[in-house]
Symmetry: C2
DNA sequence: CTGTATCCGAAATGATACTG
DNA sequence: CAGTATCATTTCGGATACAG
């Protein structure tokens, strides 16, 4: 496959992704519904929220805000609403005073979070190298 | 861990993430360098580009533009520059006329792409359910 | 073909004040 | 506590024209 595709690339032919028969969704297709979903999930705050819920368990609104450093109430609310709307996160309101609202992963969200967590850990492990690469790149492109 | 953390949450204590000793980077920390890196990668176009390069092999600029549906030249250029700058993607210019520029994954980028690919496939598999969940949510919140 | 430069409207985001 | 509403600002991103 890789070799075959590479050959196709070399030949100047379009690099078509083979879509398994019967698979209706393709994140690479601009008009595919899965693209909308993907665009929502491929977001800094959404990903951090899902990862935080996976790593720390159910959390209140304010706990999430402390856990996800730098997120504003507005963005936290917005992102949580999207995740709730798409069926990834459960929002539970305890009718106390003051009110307590707890967010938790639904099975669907947990599945996704378990795929995202490695991405976060990978980023932490290799951030040093990437920052260094940036500095090299910037230095090399400073004079020219 | 999950249980322990959950207990802490219930007790109203801060849901602190345990950071392994010696790990200097934390994507949840607003000021951590890894957060900048993560924010760059947790992006629709960056993720799709990496996934396309992994799935289809080395590709020219125009091939990538066709492969990643809906991306404009501007965003494609910008995202590729970022990925190149961070050491994830290699840009090779063949001095022909017209010029040919081929992008490929560097080892670092390939590692990441291999973590992202499952996220893309997961999204495609579950997009239907998420779209349905959205419709339910919207319907339930329409009347008020 | 592979970009760069510029403009401009749209969308994202932060800050702030207010509410149940 | 957990939001909502509003405004100001920034950033995103598409369109277009141009260039090597």
């Amino acid at each position: 496959m890789t070799t075959e595709e590479a050959a196709r690339v070399r030949a100047g032919q379009p690099a078509e992704r083979e879509v398994p028969d019967g698979q209706e969704y393709d994140v690479f297709a601009r008009l595919c519904p899965s693209r909308d979903v993907f665009a929502e999930l491929a977001d800094k705050w959404s990903m951090l929220i899902l990862m935080s819920l996976l790593g720390c368990g159910p959390q209140r609104f304010s706990e999430l805000q402390r856990g996800v450093g730098g997120v504003s109430r507005k963005m936290l609310t917005q992102s949580l609403r999207n995740l709730e709307r798409s069926g990834l996160v459960l929002r539970t309101v305890f009718p106390e005073t003051p009110p307590r609202v707890v967010y938790d992963l639904l099975p669907l969200g947990r599945e996704l979070a378990e795929l995202l967590a490695p991405v976060g850990r990978w980023t932490e492990r290799h951030a040093g190298r990437m920052v260094a690469a940036r500095e090299e790149f910037d230095a090399a492109h400073a004079e020219g």
